[in-house]
Subunit: 102 residues, 2 copies
């Protein structure tokens, strides 16, 4: 492995996972598609603004897919993409290390 | 798993790994104990101040051990602790996901 410079893919992935609430949001979505209010219920300490910002970021990265169902009232659901599901192993790995050492 | 609140152990671990240069520093140290200048040589894009700050942080977290050899001139070496070596699997997991998806 070349250590002489940063790997931008590693750094981007680690930076994403290191942001507050991101791991928890992804874990909640691993339980299946969720509406905004479902997520708020499961993570009550997180502000609406924070959840909105994080969801936009995860959507722009292709980790989360947002679907609008044209019902009355409109229903919006968030779910993990394949890219998002791929984070399960990573998050479990971080958790295992944290549980043992932190 | 309880999703209702953040797991501070997870968040601390993820935040540590998400800091710029940290992954690279740990990877370099996985090759064995290093002196400050060895690390600088392997990561030339990183400033002295950044490396100093990161090493202090990793030392305070018990990820890195700093040993001073009372020679002339004094020799200072950094090496991973068991806690630090435990990050190998985590870093590989982040890298694998980044390589595939980022």
């Amino acid at each position: 492995m070349d250590f002489s410079r940063m790997c931008p893919k590693y750094e981007s992935a680690a930076e994403l996972l290191g942001k507050k609430w991101t791991g928890l949001i992804i874990r909640v979505l691993m339980g299946g598609p969720k509406r905004f209010k479902d997520m708020k219920e499961q993570i009550p300490d997180m502000s609406d603004k924070m959840l909105t910002d994080r969801m936009k970021e995860l959507e722009s990265l292709g980790v989360v897919k947002r679907t609008v169902y044209p019902e009355m009232p409109v229903r919006i659901e968030y779910e993990l993409t394949d890219k998002g599901h791929g984070l399960q192993e990573v998050i479990e790995s971080i958790q295992a290390w944290g549980d043992k050492w932190m």
